[in-house]
């Protein structure tokens, strides 16, 4: 999935981009844990926590996604890695949005779809963050 180029040409994300990217994984992970707590306890406050955590992940994640999209069009850094980063982030965000709609259902109607989606979105957030923090390739135009 990653186009290999010579070592040393990786550069880190812009600090502000990195800060934006820092939000989705912990927030979606928090939502997942809240969903598990709701699943086990039937205590509806956990479902409310999940809703807000997901909304937060989507809000900040949208800016990270926008940044990734812009990077995609900056020809100097469009590599397999930046494309993979964008695609994973996009799928994370899209499924995260579906998850927000599922969590807008009342009471137990969020279950079990909400729990499954939270797990998938959390994994995607982890992957996107991993790729992003691994640095993007500089120079080579593909």
């Amino acid at each position: 999935m990653v186009a290999v180029s010579s070592p040393g040409s990786l550069r880190p994300l812009h600090p502000l981009h990195a800060i934006l990217l820092a939000f989705p994984f912990p927030l979606f992970l928090g939502a997942l844990i809240s969903d598990v707590a709701y699943w086990r306890s039937f205590h509806v406050q956990w479902a409310n926590f999940s809703s807000w955590l997901i909304a937060g992940g989507l809000l900040v994640g949208a800016f990270a996604l926008l940044w990734a999209l812009i990077d995609l069009f900056r020809r100097t850094i469009r590599t397999g890695r930046t494309i993979a980063y964008f695609v994973v982030l996009f799928v994370m965000w899209a499924l995260g949005f579906v998850n927000a709609l599922v969590h807008a259902k009342d009471a137990w109607a969020t279950m079990p779809e909400g729990l499954y989606l939270s797990a998938i979105v959390t994994i995607l957030a982890l992957v996107a963050t991993w790729i992003g923090y691994s640095g993007i390739h500089d120079g080579e135009v593909r």
Binding site: F42, N48, V87, F90, V98, D106, W108, A109
Partner: protein, 426 residues
């Protein structure tokens, strides 16, 4: 490449909600489809429109006139012994937005409401010369808290605020309360997701019945928030002592006592977000000690899995209501007719329907008549006041409380055009 199928799937999921077969859902055994919900609940909020020179439509042989306009969210009315009409005006509820959804849905629903602020008052209307024009309109009492239910028992006027039952002294012909009211008892008011406190008096005047709606659609604020909710209280007028008279009624929005039998009847608004044809709002005689299902089940034993943990014993005990009014019609008013309304409408109840939001084809937005025979609902309802809804996107009014004047008139409160309508025989 991943994007396109994903967006396609998303669009499908969003719109694959509703075929909405217009199944007739009236009567004692309504057709109940399987619960369903897409990713977004169906929402259709008809926007407010003006009447211009038009009037609502009434059956042949009747006429309708506005007898008061410019009110501040009129909800329920009471016809006093001398023919004066009291109007309760107000808008209540303190429910905080618990989720992002509550903010968004609250905004969308507000588009279908009047921008007027609730008056928190009682307005008195008088037609002194009996010509059908209520030339006098004055404030009977002010500084109330979202008043809704009204009842008169032997010189005492009872008003159900959203947080308390209060009493005014009343003597015939009075146009203004002689002072601030006396509190009889506090009513459940925490959150007040469903804030209206419907009320009626027992035939012997010993008791008041007060309807207290649930604090959620389907328990999504937690069951702790449902203490003393979704039930009808019986309150002893002398002592203020109260007990739950019937429970499991999601939102009993209007109560009335049947002439003759003294039987308590209610209209109840049922749960949302499981489809355009679920769950029917209903009209029912209220059995003392009865449990009517909410939140565990609806229309008897149809389990609602959104309420967890479930309670099978409660489900088994749930009573089927008497008469389905149709899903999402939002019945907010009920009143027994009398022979002065003419032979076609002599026996039965009028039901005011505020109208739907959780349905792509709006329903309700009218007043219907449910005929009775031998003291029970019998047969199809008849449209009595219509013409509020212009088309699917616009409505000129939203009926709430209905009251039958013993002299032969139907009084309808409309909280969108802030009007009181009066229907009489030609």
């Amino acid at each position: 490449m991943i994007r396109l199928p994903l967006i396609g799937a998303l669009a499908l999921a969003l719109t694959a909600c509703n075929g909405e077969p217009d199944a007739p859902q009236y009567g004692s055994s309504p057709n109940l489809p399987e619960p369903q919900r897409g990713l977004l609940p169906s929402m259709k909020i008809p926007r407010p429109a003006n009447w211009g020179n038009d009037l609502p439509t009434v059956p042949q042989g009747f006429k309708i006139q506005p007898i008061a306009t410019g009110l501040k969210i009129p909800r329920q009315t009471l016809v006093l012994p001398n023919g004066d009409i009291l109007v309760a005006e107000g808008s209540g509820g303190y429910a905080p937005s618990l989720r992002p959804k509550d903010l968004i849905a609250g905004f969308i629903k507000s588009l279908g409401k009047s921008s007027e602020k609730g008056g928190n008052r009682l307005t008195l209307l008088r037609d002194a010369d009996g010509d059908g024009t209520y030339e006098m309109q004055g404030i009977f009492a002010d500084n109330l808290n979202a008043p809704y239910g009204l009842a008169l028992i032997d010189g005492s006027l009872y008003v159900a605020n959203q947080d308390s039952l209060v009493r005014f002294d009343y003597s015939d012909g009075q146009t203004q309360a002689s002072g601030p009211p006396v509190k009889v008892v506090d009513l459940p008011a925490v959150i007040n997701h469903h804030w209206t406190k419907a009320m009626t008096a027992s035939a012997d005047g010993r008791f008041l019945y007060v309807g207290i709606g649930s604090n959620s659609n389907i328990s999504e604020r937690g069951m702790d928030a449902e203490e003393d909710r979704a039930m009808i209280w019986q309150i002893d007028v002398q002592t203020g002592m109260h007990k739950p008279y019937a429970t499991g009624l999601r939102n009993p929005t209007a109560l009335t006592v049947q002439p003759g039998s003294g039987q308590l009847w209610a209209v109840v608004n049922e749960r949302d977000e499981i489809g355009p044809n679920l769950v029917p709002d209903y009209l029912t005689s209220v059995q003392e000690g009865g449990f009517y299902g909410w939140p565990y089940s609806y229309w008897g034993q149809n389990v609602d899995p959104r309420a967890q943990p479930q309670d099978p014993e409660k489900v088994a005990a749930a009573i089927r209501p008497d008469y389905s009014l149709g899903s999402h019609v939002a019945a907010l008013g009920v009143a027994f007719s009398n022979p002065a309304m003419g032979e076609n409408f002599a026996e039965g109840v009028f039901v005011g329907q505020h109208g739907s939001w959780n349905r792509s084809a709006p329903v309700g937005y009218k007043v219907i008549f449910v005929p009775f025979r031998d003291g029970r609902p019998a047969g199809e309802p008849i449209d009595f006041v219509t013409g509020f809804l212009i088309d699917e996107g616009n409505t000129r009014g939203r009926p709430v409380g209905v009251t039958v004047d013993p002299k032969g008139a139907l009084i309808v409160a409309d909280d969108l055009s802030n009007t009181i309508w009066r229907v009489t025989r030609n």
